[in-house]
Point group: C2
Chain length 126, copies 2
């Protein structure tokens, strides 16, 4: 994976937020939408952008599309390094920390549903 391509994915605020959240584990679009509070088109298109560049994978789960970072074995050294770096930097970034806090709340709110779906974190409006 080319280094510049990784930076191209990281250089947009929305994508940065998405990748940051996905570092916590797989998430479906409606989750991401609920946290980012951005229009559906916007989120869907940025996820598409990340997918075509291999920074994200998708699987369908009923009505939902569940996005995730590539399996650990499939991550290039550059990607691993930059994801780690992002984790570090996120602690200085109020916005990213807020996203994370919202995610934790969702996890709690959806605990039953998540358990049923067995993913540990499927969509909570189901």
């Amino acid at each position: 994976m080319e280094l510049v391509k990784i930076y191209e994915c990281l250089c947009d605020r929305t994508r940065l937020r998405l990748l940051h959240l996905l570092q916590q584990g797989p998430l479906c679009v409606c989750h991401l939408q609920g946290i980012l509070r951005e229009p559906q088109v916007k989120i869907s298109k940025h996820l598409g952008y990340l997918r075509t560049r291999g920074l994200v994978t998708v699987r369908r789960e009923g009505n939902w599309m569940v996005y995730a970072l590539p399996a650990t074995a499939d991550r290039s050294p550059e990607l691993v390094a930059n994801l780690a770096c992002l984790q570090d930097c996120a602690q200085e970034d109020a916005g990213l920390k807020r996203d994370l806090a919202k995610l934790k709340q969702l996890d709690l709110a959806c605990a039953p549903v998540a358990a049923v779906r067995g993913t540990g974190r499927a969509c909570c409006r189901g």
Copy 2:
């Protein structure tokens, strides 16, 4: 310094090469030009881009403009983290390694001039 701004600077191949080289120490434009083998306008404009975003500083030295990374004390944690990450990633990148090799050669070739100028690495065509 905003995280996204840093990534915006890193997401162009030319700028990536420039920043990578500057991690070795200050360099004048003609040095960078000699290593990258790109037209003068291109290099100058990308250096300008980096400067307006605070990722690089300049000082004039006679006819030459000497570019450098910000003083260590002036680097945000995000910048420090990403520069370190870049160093790591550079070892997987053949192009960046080649740039580095060329830089070492220049250092040797210009040793006398560099000594005179006292910067340890001023322009070698002087």
